[in-house]
């Protein structure tokens, strides 16, 4: 009994989120569609409690090391890192929903409910070594995202986005499940730790043994699972849904898809690859195969960043441009995974943290700007810089960070990614990434050009926006500047993540 309650304590953040989601749903029903802002505040409070619990957990994990709840949920610093950022980004997205001028202020309690549901999915997805629970978390995240993408029922584009998303998502989930079932068939376990290294008497066969016997089924299984992840993080060639869905979905939802959902996908991808090929306990014979997987990921990274950046060049809509830019950034993050080293994983995690900051800011700007003009094309930004200087200069900061120029966190993230990749012998990939950041400068600074370098177009209606929106964007800017100057704590956190993955592997080996 006590053991159960203890294990319940380990998943307290998830439980709090679940209770919050039910509370939000019930309250919305009782309010019968009156002012939804209260529900938004309730969500913020709940997220704050979750964040506090996660911080407690972070400290606890430092003392006790990795914990496992119910044999399924792995509580380690790797997962908690991503959970903290999920909660943070979710709080910002909630604020965006509340401040979005194009969103109704009544009867949208389900919006918050679905957002919380998606975070619960992300939570389980990033903190499990069990492929079944991983799949369940991914599906929960996906289902909530499908509904969110189609949240504006009256809008054809929103409906189209939801349909495309669900069709692509269903297909890729099927592909991934097929890969998982093959892995289960090969190894007799769903636990990634046991797959990496199955001790005597565990009843499972380690993947390395099967790989030595016949490499092709193992290769097929791994590639199929990777394809599922590639869809979730929109890596070429599984990126086709991204621009349409991002464009059609309500902008706060797009923010969540581009930030929270993508980071959760990367977390699961890193854990999968790390557990099978990287950690201490893994059998030696499959490590060489892991290098080949790394090379595959490197090629995908190169194609993804190049295609994403080249497609973004020609976009007229800011929203669509940010969608392509997020594809390109997926390519950058994949560099870290491709290097197949602990430093590479830490770099990928750090870059994702940076990516949270700069993309939340950029999308926050998009929401502000849509609220002012009702449009999302770059040409309507003309003169924005002179009429809304604070917001516009904040956007310039985000653009600089997205391009990867100092003194922003984007530069720092890119630097350690390059560092890890060159150390892993992927200098060619670094050159491609470097050229890509030059390409990206061109389209990012089209926005700056439109805001500052061109004269304002007189007929664009300009409405005075709430102070709240400005403050919100400014808060993110401050975070960004702070990270640019005081990067050490975050870097330390990112380094802890892969380290805790290794701790897990040694545990699994002795279990």
């Amino acid at each position: 009994m006590n053991a159960y309650i203890e294990q319940m304590g380990l998943i307290a953040p998830e439980l709090v989120l679940t209770a919050l989601s039910l509370f939000v749903l019930t309250w919305d029903l009782l309010k019968k569609g009156r002012n939804s802002d209260h529900i938004g505040y309730a969500t913020l409070v709940g997220l704050a409690v979750t964040g506090w619990l996660l911080l407690q957990q972070w400290g606890m994990l430092g003392d006790k090391g990795t914990q496992t709840a119910f044999g399924m949920v792995t509580i380690d610093r790797f997962g908690t890192f991503f959970k903290l950022f999920t909660v943070g980004s979710m709080a910002v997205v909630t604020l965006f929903v509340m401040l979005d001028k194009n969103e109704r202020k009544h009867g949208i309690g389900e919006y918050y409910f679905l957002l919380i549901g998606a975070s619960i999915g992300a939570f389980f997805m990033v903190s499990t070594n069990n492929l079944l629970l991983l799949m369940l978390g991914l599906e929960l995240l996906s289902l909530a995202s499908y509904s969110l993408a189609g949240f504006h029922k009256g809008s054809k584009r929103s409906a189209e986005a939801a349909l495309k998303y669900i069709v692509f998502g269903g297909l890729s989930a099927g592909v991934m499940l097929y890969g998982i079932s093959l892995l289960y068939g090969l190894t007799g376990t769903l636990d990634l730790g046991l797959m990496g290294h199955a001790p005597e008497g565990s009843g499972a066969v380690s993947l390395a043994t099967q790989f030595d016997a016949s490499p092709i089924p193992v290769a097929i299984a791994v590639v199929l699972v990777l394809a599922g992840f590639a869809y979730k993080v929109s890596v070429v060639p599984f990126h086709f849904w991204t621009p349409d869905v991002y464009e059609g979905a309500p902008t706060p939802v797009t923010t969540f898809l581009a930030v929270g959902s993508k980071a959760a996908g990367f977390a699961a991808l890193l854990r999968f690859v790390g557990a099978l090929f990287l950690t201490d306990g893994v059998d030696a014979s499959i490590v060489a195969y892991g290098d080949r997987i790394g090379f595959l990921l490197a090629i995908l990274a190169a194609i993804t960043m190049t295609l994403g950046n080249l497609s973004a060049l020609r976009q007229g809509s800011l929203k669509r441009m940010l969608a392509y830019s997020s594809i390109a950034h997926a390519g950058y993050v994949l560099m870290g995974a491709a290097s197949m080293t602990s430093e590479g994983f830490a770099a990928a995690m750090f870059y994702l943290a940076a990516y949270y900051c700069m993309n939340l800011g950029a999308f926050g700007f998009l929401i502000y700007f849509e609220g002012v003009t009702g449009k999302d094309d770059i040409d309507s930004l003309k003169g924005m810089g002179w009429r809304h200087p604070v917001v516009a200069w904040s956007m310039v900061v985000f653009l600089v960070a997205l391009t990867g120029l100092p003194p922003t966190v984007g530069f720092y993230g890119k630097l350690i990614l390059f560092y890890a990749a060159i150390d892993a012998g992927l200098a060619w990939l670094v050159i491609i990434a470097a050229i890509n950041s030059v390409i990206s400068l061109f389209y990012y600074f089209r926005v700056a050009k439109s805001m500052f370098l061109t004269e304002p177009v007189p007929q664009v209606p300009m409405r005075q926006h709430g102070l709240a929106g400005i403050l919100c964007v400014l808060a993110v800017v401050t975070v960004l500047a702070g990270l640019g100057a005081f990067k050490d704590p975050l870097r330390g956190w990112a380094d802890e993540g892969p380290a805790s993955l290794e701790i897990y592997a040694t545990d699994a080996g002795s279990r």
């Binding site: 120029l405 060159i422 200098a427 060619w428 670094v430 470097a434 950041s437 600074f445 050490d488 330390g492």
Partner: protein, 530 residues
């Protein structure tokens, strides 16, 4: 005074923040703050130059150093030596002149002066940084204000020119970044290994026992000892079939060469110059181009001396092409400002030629040429600005006989032109002659031929400058401009200190050379591969 370099670097930043809190309409207060925030560094830099700096020493002086980002082993590490002190002073001077030269600008003045001050922070930072990470951060910090200064306050094609400038420079700096990451990895492995060779190479520097993987002096020491060869990297540091010293050298060199600009990376320069407003052109030609040359002798050649040794003749050839080609293209221009821009390409070619020769005269001449071009090019751009403000065009063929109505302006322009074409007695002559003599002395084969070819550049330079003078000032007065006003006091005051320097350094060049001599000697010693 402790931390004087940090004060010089960050005083403009304080000024910028102060400006952000001033209401937009209060332009006189904004201008006052801008003047103070550029004037104080000039005072400090002058004091530094004549008072605090020990010109007999080749060491880094006025060092400020503490750990900045422990995770990367990056430090806040600033210091100056004979190579940078003159350029720091020049920066302070030109930015201080840039403020009153901008008083004619009426558009969005608050943003303008704020960006100008931010630009100054970046430039100072590059000249004083001794940590490569810090150096790179400042290097990129310059780009953004420059983009907006050209893009918002520039001429009709400003958008194109601004993004072209940004893209070219960024393309160079990402190559630099790749090389920098590789260097940092190799440095980390070398210092961690702690072998006797590494310790002996670092002994005598401040870096012994510090894990400063980004420290430029440490890189110089290890590079000079022939240890920084990428042997700890995957594939032994080879990349695309090139040795570590080769590709790192070229990546760094291209990054700086774009800034100089060296042929064939020069095509951004005429556009940026023509579109930029006058004060920004002055800063661009006067200082930003020097950053490229300074970067080469600080953070490229001494770090990979092997690469420099292998390719110094190629650098000399590039320098000569820049000299002759830049001058030849300038001859064909009808736009006054474009002509001056191409003349900058030509003049900066001497810098490269002098450095490539690796003789004391050549290196000192190159350093001197950077300073002298900073003053003479600044004068030329101010001259163009004066006539453009009055006539609103810059077509060389559209004037004529202006000497009759603008005698004072003519006198100043003539002096500037003579300084630029290297008339003996003026500053340009000293540095160009030193470079050429230095290159001629070079023991390396083939440099004599390069010198002979580059003399052609001097002739062409004289031709286009004198021809331009003839078209604008001599001959019959164009009746359109018979009521044109002569140069006013503010404009004279902007040009006067620069012209004074042109004359002064033409007669007494040792006021620069004495400060440089120990550092140049050390640099040559570092660059000589045994």
């Amino acid at each position: 005074m402790d931390h004087i370099l940090s004060w010089i670097t960050f005083l403009p930043l304080i000024g910028m923040i102060a400006i952000l809190f001033v209401p937009k309409a209060n332009t006189s207060l904004i201008k006052t703050i801008a003047l103070a925030a550029t004037g104080l560094p000039l005072v400090l830099a002058t004091w530094l130059y004549f008072g605090l700096f020990d010109k007999m020493s080749a060491d880094l002086q006025m060092v400020d150093r503490f750990t900045w980002i422990a995770g990367l082993n990056a430090e806040y590490y600033v210091g100056i030596d004979g190579l940078s002190i003159a350029l720091v002073w020049l920066t302070a001077l030109l930015l201080f002149i840039g403020v009153p030269a901008s008083f004619g600008i009426n558009k969005a003045q608050k943003s303008y002066y704020a960006l100008l001050l931010l630009l100054e922070v970046g430039i100072f930072g590059v000249f004083v940084a001794q940590d490569y990470f810090l150096f790179y951060v400042f290097w990129e910090v310059m780009l953004l204000p420059m983009y907006f200064l050209i893009g918002i306050w520039g001429g009709p094609r400003r958008e194109y020119a601004a993004i072209k400038f940004f893209l070219y420079t960024l393309a160079g700096s990402v190559l630099m970044l790749v090389a920098l990451v590789a260097l940092r990895l190799d440095m980390g492995a070398l210092i961690d290994s702690g072998t006797a060779e590494v310790v002996s190479a670092l002994s005598g520097t401040e870096d012994l026992g510090r894990n400063a993987y980004f420290s430029i002096p440490a890189m110089t020491a290890l590079g000079g000892a022939g240890l920084l060869t990428g042997s700890t990297l995957p594939f032994g540091g080879d990349f695309l079939g090139m040795q570590f010293t080769t590709w790192v050298f070229w990546f760094l060199f291209i990054g700086f060469a774009i800034k100089v600009p060296v042929f064939p990376f020069h095509t951004w320069l005429p556009d940026a110059h023509v579109q930029a407003p006058t004060p920004i052109s002055v800063i661009l030609a006067g200082i930003l181009l020097k950053l490229g040359g300074y970067g080469m002798i600080r953070a490229c050649f001494p770090i990979v001396p092997q690469g420099f040794d292998d390719y110094s003749y190629a650098l000399g050839v590039l320098g000569v092409i820049s000299i002759v080609y830049g001058a030849y293209v300038a001859l064909g221009q009808t736009d006054f400002k474009r002509m001056v821009a191409y003349s900058s390409v030509s003049h900066m070619g001497y810098v490269l030629l002098g450095m490539a020769a690796l003789t004391e005269w050549g290196m000192s001449g190159a350093a001197l040429q950077m300073f002298n071009h900073g003053t003479s090019a600044a004068v030329l751009f101010l001259v163009v600005g004066v006539i453009y403000d009055r006539a609103h065009h810059r077509d060389l063929n559209g004037f004529g006989g202006l000497a009759q109505v603008m005698p004072r302006y003519w006198a100043l322009t003539t002096l500037g032109f003579f300084a630029a074409l290297g008339l003996p007695g003026l500053a340009g002559f000293v540095s160009e002659a030193m470079t050429l003599v230095g290159a001629y002395q070079s023991p390396r084969p083939g440099f004599k031929l390069l010198v002979i070819i580059s003399v052609l550049g001097i002739v062409i330079t004289a031709a286009f400058l004198l021809w331009a003078m003839q078209r604008v000032f001599l001959g019959n007065l164009n009746p359109k401009y018979k009521d044109i006003k002569d140069i006013n006091a503010r404009e004279v005051l902007c040009q006067a200190p620069l012209l004074f320097l042109c004359i002064f350094l033409g007669i007494l060049p040792h006021y620069l050379l004495d400060w440089m001599r120990p550092s140049v000697a050390l640099l040559i010693q570092n660059l000589t591969v045994n």
